[in-house]
């Protein structure tokens, strides 16, 4: 068979992404039709930059999700097909089996794996880890930043000192110190996970408790249910048979997170949370001087109610914008980890690892490194444009 021409490759890739295009069109039509009823999200569709950013982000989100169900991929991302080593985009397979996709659309890498399918699978890893890690970092940052900003004093000095301590570390050095196999063996990342992952539980517990304190009949069952479920999830997340932290017996353990992923997750949360802490602290210090906070204090509301139900909702604008930017930054950090071969397995199809694999032969074969590089660029760019659009629209209020 002849290799595909560039036009053929583009057409085939376009067709391969069909489920993504359909989902994007449906999402955008629905959102634009109902944009007046959707609050800040709806206002996003008034700004071109925000729409472009949102489209780029959702493209990768849908790609990741469909890719996880093996819908867009053409080959197994780990399978090596003989004769396809470093082949250019559009090369046909030498003797394809029945039902096998006959071409490597974006060529083969130095181990004869399909670059296109690896790109799709890599999107899923980012879409899984980056938003979740950012969310955890926000929980940690908010739970510590609100009291630091609201109370001030000794607590503030101590927490700020700790945050600055982590911030003064060059990120890569921190990664090298935390993610090496020797350190993982001592269980330090597992202990850090144990500490860091408590914060979402504290956050939700305090949030609900301060809100429903006056309704004891509703509060007790609600807290028991929510904290029970979260506690179970927490224990199954951190406990792993055969590692240092193993508290749950196997039959109660809901899911197993591969330890490499857990370590990467923990270090990314750890690096991000001090910055979030600083932002939240600054916002809390600013907002606590407002009249509505004074009104709540006069009403006799507790400090946690004021922090979580008066200050936090009024700080949401800058926080949402920073959340988008931070997901992008987390994506970059994940790529950095992959680029230095830290944490994730060397076979993993995530973009950083693939770029690192491809760069060795970059002078001769471009496509194995260029494809994931451009994917990562477009995703982070999308998030930054989205954040920019959101900032503009939220300032317009």
């Amino acid at each position: 068979m002849e290799p595909l021409s560039w036009f053929d490759i583009i057409t085939r890739v376009f067709l391969q992404f069909m489920p993504v295009w359909i989902s994007l069109v449906v999402l955008f039509t629905l959102s634009i039709v109902y944009k007046r009823r959707l609050g800040l999200y709806g206002k996003l569709f008034d700004s071109t930059i925000g729409m472009i950013g949102f489209a780029l982000v959702m493209f990768w989100v849908f790609t990741g999700i469909f890719g996880a169900f093996d819908m867009i991929v053409t080959h197994d991302p780990l399978a090596q097909v003989s004769g396809m080593k470093n082949k250019l985009p559009g090369t046909p397979l030498t003797n394809p089996d029945e039902g096998q996709y006959a071409y490597y659309l974006f060529g083969g890498d130095n181990l004869a794996r399909d670059v296109f399918s690896r790109m799709i699978k890599g999107a899923w890893i980012v879409v899984q880890i980056a938003p979740l890690a950012t969310l955890f970092a926000f929980m940690v940052g908010i739970t510590l930043g609100l009291p630091a900003g609201y109370y001030g004093g000794r607590l503030d000095t101590l927490l700020s000192f700790l945050a600055n301590l982590i911030l003064a570390f060059p990120v890569i050095l921190l990664f090298y110190l935390l993610v090496t196999p020797e350190i993982v063996e001592t269980g330090i990342p597992s202990y850090m996970a144990t500490v860091l992952f408590v914060f979402p539980i504290i956050f939700v517990g305090v949030l609900l408790n301060s809100r429903y304190k006056t309704q004891p009949k509703l509060r007790a069952p609600l807290l028991i249910c929510v904290l029970g479920i979260m506690g179970w999830l927490y224990l199954s997340l951190i406990s792993e048979i055969g590692t240092k932290v193993s508290v749950l017996p196997g039959f109660l353990d809901l899911f197993d997170v591969p330890s490499g992923i857990l370590v990467v997750f923990v270090s990314v949360v750890f690096v991000n949370s001090p910055t979030v802490f600083r932002i939240v602290r600054g916002l809390a210090m600013d907002i606590k001087t407002r009249d509505y906070v004074a009104a709540a204090q006069t009403r006799g509301e507790g400090p946690w109610y004021i922090m979580l139900w008066e200050i936090l909702p009024n700080a949401r604008g800058p926080l949402i914008v920073d959340f988008c930017l931070r997901i992008g930054y987390t994506t970059i950090l994940l790529g950095t980890l992959g680029f230095f071969g830290l944490g994730l397995s060397p076979e993993s199809p995530d973009w950083g690892t693939t770029i690192n694999d491809g760069r060795r032969l970059l002078q001769i074969y471009l496509h194995p490194a260029l494809v994931p590089a451009i994917s990562l660029l477009s995703m982070v760019l999308g998030l930054n444009l989205l954040a920019d659009g959101l900032r503009e629209e939220s300032l317009r209020d």
Partner: protein
């Protein structure tokens, strides 16, 4: 002002001590030491041999004591071998124990010995740091003026077409980490198959003689990522200054637009970017590590990767101390500079 600087320096020293102790603890954990013993001795050492090796070299003392010795505030460990000879960290080959000093740590200028490069850590860091200094110098020369020009041009008339275009450029560069822009730049400008072949894809030869051909790509790669951020800060600060009363007064007096920008707005608009540029240093350090690995330029960042991936404990400690020091000093300078440049802020 004096008290303010004194307090900042105090906090800085405290931070430095905490951080170095943290790094020291993490690098001196038992699995790391075991690996060190096996690479120094042989890989088939039994557990007893490992612990006797570690005992001989003083690695089994409490962490705080080891840290004190490394820092040079506690007398260093000496071990008496079975044949009566005395060995210790301070006793260099060819010296007798009596001649050697009791204290040998970072404070005395002794940084230890690198197991990978087989050389004194102090001299390795010196040479590597000067190579990275050359890289950083050119990065600054390229990055700071272009970022400021970009920011001032787009902040001059907020919302104009120039502003939109330049802002998009700035956003794109901040969204491109070094390992992505480096790969794309090599593909476009240096690849031997399809690219333009204007530059070289490695900077190894730039260590001896840097020229435009072998040094421009790494410099550009680092500059691009930092540039967008500084440009956006400059833009925001410029846009704010342009709405100020005195700018309106100047316009109404009939001062020409270029004159307003250069003489009235620029000086006030550059206060914020100054701190940002200083705070950019820690990020540049990250960029340096990535770019030096990507372009195979054997500077400070490359040394960090080598030390960390080969478990070279004393070199890694030295590298950490230097990088933490750089970060803290730039923070101090940016704080002092901010107060100095902005008369509205008082330290008291």
């Amino acid at each position: 002002m004096g008290l303010f600087i004194l307090r900042r320096v105090g906090v800085m020293i405290l931070t430095g001590l905490c951080l170095t102790f943290l790094v020291f603890t993490l690098t001196n954990l038992y699995p790391n030491l075991e690996k060190l013993a096996k690479t120094q001795g042989n890989f088939r050492m039994s557990d007893e041999e490992v612990s006797s090796y570690l005992e001989r070299n003083g690695y089994l003392q409490p962490m705080v004591v080891k840290y004190g010795e490394w820092l040079g505030v506690l007398p260093s460990y000496r071990h008496e071998n079975t044949d009566g000879t005395i060995q210790g960290r301070c006793i260099l080959p060819g010296k007798t124990p009596e001649e050697s000093p009791d204290f040998c740590g970072v404070l005395q200028g002794y940084w230890g010995f690198s197991t990978v490069f087989k050389d004194e850590v102090g001299s390795i860091i010196g040479t590597r740091l000067s190579l990275t200094g050359k890289l950083m110098f050119w990065v600054m020369v390229l990055m700071v003026p272009s970022a400021l020009i970009l920011g001032v041009l787009s902040g001059m008339k907020e919302g104009s077409k120039t502003d939109r275009t330049l802002s998009t450029v700035a956003i794109t560069t901040t969204a491109t980490p070094e390992y992505v822009s480096g790969v794309i730049l090599i593909a476009v400008f240096a690849s031997s198959t399809v690219g333009l072949k204007w530059f070289k894809g490695t900077a190894t030869s730039a260590m001896e003689s840097a020229n435009f051909e072998n040094f421009f790509l790494p410099v550009l790669t680092i500059s691009l990522y930092g540039m967008g951020y500084i440009a956006r800060m400059t833009r925001a600060s410029m846009a704010e200054v342009m709405t100020a009363q005195y700018i309106r007064t100047a316009r109404l007096k009939g001062v020409s637009f270029p004159n307003i920008v250069v003489k009235h707005a620029l000086r006030n608009a550059l206060i914020a970017p100054f701190t940002v540029i200083m705070l950019q240093f820690p990020w540049l350090l990250n960029g340096v590590v990535i770019v030096e690995t990507l372009f195979n330029y054997k500077g400070f960042g490359w040394t960090l990767v080598q030390a960390a991936s080969n478990n070279d404990i004393e070199l890694l400690l030295g590298v950490s101390v230097v990088s933490v020091f750089v970060v803290l000093v730039t923070q101090l300078i940016s704080d002092i500079g901010y107060v100095y440049l902005n008369p509205r802020i008082s330290v008291t």
